[in-house]
Point group: C2
Chain length 338, copies 2
Amino acid sequence: MADGARPVTLQSIAKELGLHVSTVSRILNGPAATGARAASTATADRVRRLAAELGYRPDPHATGLRTRRSNLIGVLVPRMSDLVLAMIHEGIEEAATAKGLSTIVVNTLDRPETRRARTDMLIARRTDGLIFGDARVEDDFLAEVAARGTPFVLVNRHSADHPSVTCDDWLGGRLAADHLLGLGHRDVAIIAGEPHASTGVDRVGGFLERCAEAGVPVPGDRIAHGGFDTAAGRAAADRLLAADPAPTAIFAVNDFAAIGALGAARDRGLRVGEDLAVMGYNDTPLAAELPLPLTSVLSSTHEMGRRALAMLVRILAGERPPSERLRPVLTARASTGC
Amino acid sequence: MADGARPVTLQSIAKELGLHVSTVSRILNGPAATGARAASTATADRVRRLAAELGYRPDPHATGLRTRRSNLIGVLVPRMSDLVLAMIHEGIEEAATAKGLSTIVVNTLDRPETRRARTDMLIARRTDGLIFGDARVEDDFLAEVAARGTPFVLVNRHSADHPSVTCDDWLGGRLAADHLLGLGHRDVAIIAGEPHASTGVDRVGGFLERCAEAGVPVPGDRIAHGGFDTAAGRAAADRLLAADPAPTAIFAVNDFAAIGALGAARDRGLRVGEDLAVMGYNDTPLAAELPLPLTSVLSSTHEMGRRALAMLVRILAGERPPSERLRPVLTARASTGC
DNA sequence: ACGTTTGGCCCAATCGTTTGGGCTATGATG
DNA sequence: CATCATAGCCCAAACGATTGGGCCAAACGT
C-alpha cells in the first residue's frame, strides 16, 4: 500500500537497504537454490519484509523485456457471447491464474480476416502461447501459425493433429442417438450446426454411426446445417418440420439451437416431449431450467478450459502432450418425454 | 513474414540500412511532426519498406518500459458466462481494438476477495486503466482503487459518482411498469435480482415509482430478491406464485430470471401470456426466439461497452467526462399477451 | 562573404529486471 | 602457515524502444 509518487522498484528497495539491485532480485524472485546463495537469511528477511511493506510488484515490462516471457496467453474464440466459450474461458482463466498467467481474449467471429488480424496482434503482444477455440475442420491457418513457431493448443474444436482438448463429440453423438433410438424413434432429424466446426461434424458423425448400427436410415434431407444459435436453430427446425411426414425427433448439436427448435415446434402446435422429441448438446445451465427442461449431453466446458491451459503450459515447457477427449454425459429430461 | 531466428528490432533495421536506431524509431512511430524532421522522405521510405518486409512489430515490453504505458485495459466482470457481460465485453473489445488497445478480462464472481486479488493483479500488470462491470451499490473498494490513482470507469452498474456508462435502468423500470399497467394489471410482482447491483435496484425503483404514480401498490412481499440467473428466477417466481392470490404479472429484472419464471409458471399450470404476464430485461437475443417470446426491455449492451471504453480513453487523456445513461427500449411480445 | 537557419541524422541516457561473473572476507583443511 | 572453498555480495551487460540534445553541412539571408 501507500505509494503515491515514485513506483517501488528493485532499485529503490536495494538503495534503501544498502544492497545491490541484483541481490534483491535474486532474493525476491530467484529460484530457492540461487536465493540461498544470494544472501544471508537475515538480509533476505529484511528485503522481503521491506518489499512486502512497500508493496513491490515487479514490472512486467522489464521482466518481459529481459526474459522474453510475458506470462500472457492469447485466447481466440468465435465469440464470448457464446455461453459454451464463455464457460471454457472461465476454466482457462482459473487455471491460468493458478499458474501466474493472464489471458487476453479476442472474438474472431469465426471470420478468417478477423482471426488473422487478432492472431497477429496477439503475437505482436508477445503472448507466450495461444489457445484457439475457433479451429476449423480444414484449417491451413493453424499450420501457418505453427510454422511461425507460436505454441498453441485447440480447445472445444479439434483440427488435423494439432494438440487439442475437446469433448468426445463423436461419442456424444452416439449417446444422443442411443437415447432417441431407445425411446423408439425411427425417423430422426439433425440440426447439424456449421460444417466447419468439428463439434458439429463429430456429433453428427457419431449420431449417424449409431443410427446406422441400429439399421435406422437418416437421409440427407433430415440434416439441416446452419449456425449454433437460437435463430439458426429455429430456421433449421422450420425446414425439417415442414417435411411430410415430419421426423419424430430432432437432435440439435447445441442447446441454443435446440431452444430455437422448441420455438418452431410450438409454432406448429406440436407438443414437445409428446408429439416431438427434441434434444440439445452441452447441457448448458439453462437446459435444466427451461420451462420445458431439455434433454442434453454434457460436455464439461469448465474442465476443458482448465485442461487446455494445462496442456499449453506443458507445451511451453517443451513437452509434447497428446490431445485429450473428455467424456460426455447424457441427461434425459422432459423434452424427449422423460 | 519470414523470420525464423533473430527477432526483428529497430536495431536490426537500423543496421541493415546504415542508420541509427533513433532515426528509425522516429520514422516508424514518431508523430508526423517529428517524423518529418527526422529523416528525408527517401530514407523514411526505405525504412518503412524494410520494416514492412521484415514484419517489424515493436516489442511492447520495451515500449512499455520506456513509456510506462501498456496499452492494456483490465476488465472486471462478475462472470463472462453472463451473456449481458459477454456482450458488453464485445463492445469494449471492438472499441479497444480500434484504438490499438487490448483487454485482459477477469471474472470476479461478484466476490470481494476475488475482486481484490484480480484488481491487484491487473494493476501489477501495469494496465493503463480498468473497467469495472461489477460495481456495487455501496462500494468502498472503488474509492480505494481511485485513491491509488488507477483510472477506471464503471459499466452496466453505477456506484457513487464514479464515471460510468449504464443503461437508464430507472427509466427501463418505468417502461416495464407502464407496459404492465397499460395491459390492465393491478397486482404485479418483481423478481428483483441482487440488492447490491444498481441494475436491479434501479429497475425496481423505476418500476415502483411508476406504479405509485398510477396508484397501484406493490407490497414488500411482492418483491423477491435473489440472483440474476435462471435457477434464481425460478426459485423467486415459485415464492411469488405461491401467494394467494397470486400476482397477475411478474417483472423480472433479467431475461434469464424471467426464463426461470416461465418454468415456474408452467409447473403451476399457468398459461403465460394469458393467466400470467411475465417480462424480462435486457432483450437478450434469446428473448425473441424463445418458444414463448419474451417481452423485454432492451439495454444496448454492445454500445455500453463501446462507450465505456471511449470514456476510459478520455479519462486516460486527462479529461473528466460525465457519466452516460443509455436509453432503454421496450419490446412487447407474447409473454405479456402481445 | 559571412553569419544563421534548418534539414537530416547520430548520441546516449533511460525505463526495471535478470544473470553470468567476479570479488572479498572468513573459516576449514593439510 | 599457505591454500582453498565458500558464503555473501557487488558489477555490468544485456533486453528494445524512446527522446532531449547535439552536430555537420548545405542552403539562405543580407
